[in-house]
Amino acid sequence: MKLVNFKFRHKLNTIIGGEAHNFCYQCGACVGDCPAALYSPAFNPRNILLEALLGDEESLVGPDSVIWDCTNCNTCYERCPQAVRPVEVIIALKNISFEKGTNPPGVKSILDSVKESGRTVKTSSLSDRRRKELGLKEISIVPLEELKKLLE
């Protein structure tokens, strides 16, 4: 039998900000309307919560973790009778995965784009021209120095 990894559970609680997910009683209400569960057989928010309660670090934040199939639709947040906010547990797991470097590359590239340009979509000569044609002002400048101080 596996032992509960309390250290991992504690870390998770700190990121989520509270211990609400400890009250998950495995009812499965979060599964029924979960679009990711419908389209990805490996994905099941109730199972993720069970693994989170056991502190199964390897499976949850390893390189092949299923957490990245969550669509962030927030339906489970609506449905859970225990106010667990499963999606927030999944996001906290993603934060830990990012810290370990086991995240998919797309996550890092969004972060880099915000660091470099202050935006997730960078401006280009095409976007400038389009704005002009539509009679819009030039796009406002993001104070990157300020952002840098917050991002370091």
Binding site: I15, G17, D33, P35, A36, Y39, S40, W68, D69, C70, T71, N72, C73, N74, T75, Y77, E78, R85, I91, A92, K94, N95, F98, N103, P104, G106, V107, K108, I110, L111, V114, G118, R119, T120, V121, K122, T123, S124, S127, R130, R131, L134, G135, L136, K137, I139, S140, I141, V142, P143, E146, L147, K149, L150, L151
Partner: protein
């Protein structure tokens, strides 16, 4: 009526036709949008939040501070920006410890989050501040078309934070499209999301395909929505899907303020319909 608009990166950079439509239609409704300087990306509620939640919250708080300094409520036009800014505002208002942590960081740039403005998706301004009747009075040419609405996820959920409408039985977009003349058509995949956030690309492909096919089957003339990110998935995404599955879906995707603009008498070029990847010609023929 004055608000600080937060257009976000998708609209200002990739889909400026949405910005143009919002500005023109809101001017027609007598709403003043006061542009403030210094906003960054909201930041993105999916990947950025997945990387580092506290930094995500801090950058969101910085954007909210800019509106606080001007004493104006923020209005958002993208469901993603709405999600990030509403969520940050909600938690920072309700959790003094978190507020303290975030303000510690904001001190480095001489800002302080106070918690005295609201974040509103622009459709709630139409319904609650202006009123549906006022919107109706701006319509010169009701457009008799059938719309299948796509709410998307983040406008409505989590409802305790978003407070836009009943997440299971929303009516806000139906009412807004209807006053501009449209008939709203129900379809099977009404509440399905697009799956954009999934890292395995087959999932979002299947989801968007299912949503578009369900709309196609419903007999609607177009899909109506209120978010540039949903738009990106269904407009640009549709081209890739049609190729990949050798089907011709041809469901035009229209942002609400483009539709309202047309009904107020703006031309298709004024609202930038020519910039869409999935062409709206068939639909436009019906109303010309």
């Amino acid at each position: 009526m004055k608000y600080a608009p937060f257009f976000g990166c998708m609209i200002s950079v990739k889909y400026p036709q949405m910005e143009a439509s919002v500005r023109k239609t809101m001017a027609n409704l007598g709403v003043e949008l006061v542009d403030l300087e210094g906003f960054s990306c909201c930041p993105d509620p999916i990947y950025f939040k997945a990387a580092d939640k506290l930094t995500w919250m801090t950058l969101a708080a910085r954007n909210i501070c800019i509106a606080e300094e001007a004493g104006l409520d923020l209005v958002t036009m993208c469901s993603g920006c709405t999600a990030t800014l509403s969520e940050a505002n909600f938690h920072l208002k309700h959790d003094p410890e978190l507020k303290e942590k975030v303000n510690q960081r904001l001190k480095k740039i001489g800002k302080e989050y106070k918690g005295n403005v609201s974040v509103r998706h622009i459709v709630t301004v139409l319904r609650d501040d202006l009123g549906i009747e006022k919107v109706k009075s701006s319509v010169k040419k009701p457009l008799n078309l059938k719309v299948a609405i796509h709410y998307g996820c983040h406008l409505l959920k989590p409802s305790e934070i978003m407070r836009v409408d009943d997440p299971d039985h929303p009516t806000i977009l139906e009412r807004l499209f209807e006053v501009a003349g449209a008939e709203t058509i129900k379809h099977e995949k009404q509440v399905l999301c697009c799956g954009k956030a999934c890292t395995h690309e087959e999932i979002p492909e299947k989801m968007t395909y299912d949503v578009l096919s369900s709309i196609k089957k419903s007999g609607a003339d177009f899909m109506g929505l209120i978010c540039p990110t949903c738009f990106d998935e269904f407009d640009l995404g549709q081209i890739n899907l049609s190729r990949k599955f050798s089907v011709d879906l041809k469901v035009p995707i229209i942002y609400y303020f483009q539709f309202l603009g047309l009904s107020q008498g703006l031309s298709p070029e004024d609202v930038g319909l020519h910039l869409h990847k999935t062409k709206a010609d068939e639909m436009l023929k019906k109303i010309s």
